[in-house]
Symmetry: D2
Subunit: 144 residues, 4 copies
């Protein structure tokens, strides 16, 4: 959006290495970072039957996990690899029961302030046009 | 609270059997139901280094997972074992970084309507008086 | 977005008449409906010094009022003039202090289900590119 | 709760004078501060037919206004009269349609940090035991 002309301050590869090291749940859930732009990020969570609910869907907490990681990617893509940035709140609305497929998360920044960042994430089931969940969240960021 | 004199419609044992069968993430995270009353429930998640972030804390998505399961216990304790009840929204405020210890979730109903239930959950680190997170959430419940 | 080719089921004029009659706060806050499409709506709230906080901004509750009305317009634009649709939840993140100017609300549907609708609204200060607040909300809709 | 033995740093009278001066919507909605303790506050909004929806209830945005003012009272009761504290987010779940009566808001702190405060508010219709709405919110507080 308004940030398209600024370079991201972290590559997907560097972000992946950081979460592989620091956030074991991302490895557990098969979460991969596909793209980081300045103010934007896209992550993918591979479908894993171990996370399903009855009916072959994707468990809510796994959806929250990829949304949280996506907001982290959006924020670190703007401020660089600051491990001390922490989620302070997250709000999720579940929209549709996702089928047995990968989840793709598209995140973007709404505001990067001195101390607080706010972003939103839309979650999609791979191959389906309408989102399965909407998430907004806030990150506390250390003084820079 | 106002529901203390009514019997719960599901035992902790029956709820545990249901989630062990239907919600694989609960087993993965070591989530156990300790108590269900009418309009109340308490669950515990054992501390597991595999969920930690740097610094020996409990990952946010694991906190969301026990909160979601606790709301489910609160709702099923009032309407009985209705698997089709589904979370429609969840809002979490992270209050304090939990230390390396079990998480205890205390949930209660705020409203049980014909179609929608609303509840709140406070998460505690075992042995610490002040809560580590506050969660409110809504459940869609099928016609009864 | 995906709903662009379907006609709205309520005109801005009819929606304005409904809220002028049914929601006195909208008249109090000078809220006008400018556009309704199928799954989208835009409303405007004229700047009124009587709503300010110190520093010439727009009070938070006034921002919530226009967001709520905008979600109502989005929903009624899809289901027609059903007065019994009611807000069940609303989540707002305040992003920037709006200056002394009109607020423009751009709302869109995220999901229209049988019983629940979910939408989001971005609030802008007239003439400023970046949003001042982000809102997501849910509406309970009566059986149709 | 845990803060019962500490004195509040602002009286209800001083808080009322502050909001009468700084928040015109509070006067408009007839919001009065009845009590401030350290970490707690109670406010009342007199019923006013000008705020009603069809059916003699209290408009959602008026409920949000008293909840927001109550969180402000909770925070200022702990840090003193710091006008620069600002709401950063607010989440409301509407539980029951309030009848034509005063609204009483009971707020309490969940966490007072260096930069962020989190609190919750239950709204009641005067004379009814069950809450009509639940609110959680966050305040950004300036360095002290």
């Amino acid at each position: 959006m308004m940030h398209g002309d600024t370079a991201a301050r972290m590559t997907p590869q560097a972000f992946q290495a950081l979460i592989d090291e620091a956030l074991p749940l991302c490895a557990l859930f098969g979460i991969r970072c596909e793209h980081i732009g300045y103010g934007r990020a896209r992550l993918r969570m591979r479908f894993d039957p171990a996370q399903t609910r009855p009916g072959g869907t994707v468990a809510g907490p796994a959806q929250m996990a990829i949304a949280d990681a996506t907001l982290y990617a959006v924020v670190l893509g703007m401020i660089g690899p600051v491990e001390l940035a922490v989620t302070t709140s997250l709000n999720i609305n579940f929209l549709r029961k996702p089928p047995a497929a990968d989840i793709i998360a598209e995140g973007r920044i709404l505001k990067l302030g001195q101390r607080l960042a706010v972003g939103e994430v839309l979650l999609y089931s791979d191959g389906v046009a309408e989102p399965v969940a909407h998430v907004s969240g806030t990150y506390s960021i250390p003084p820079r």
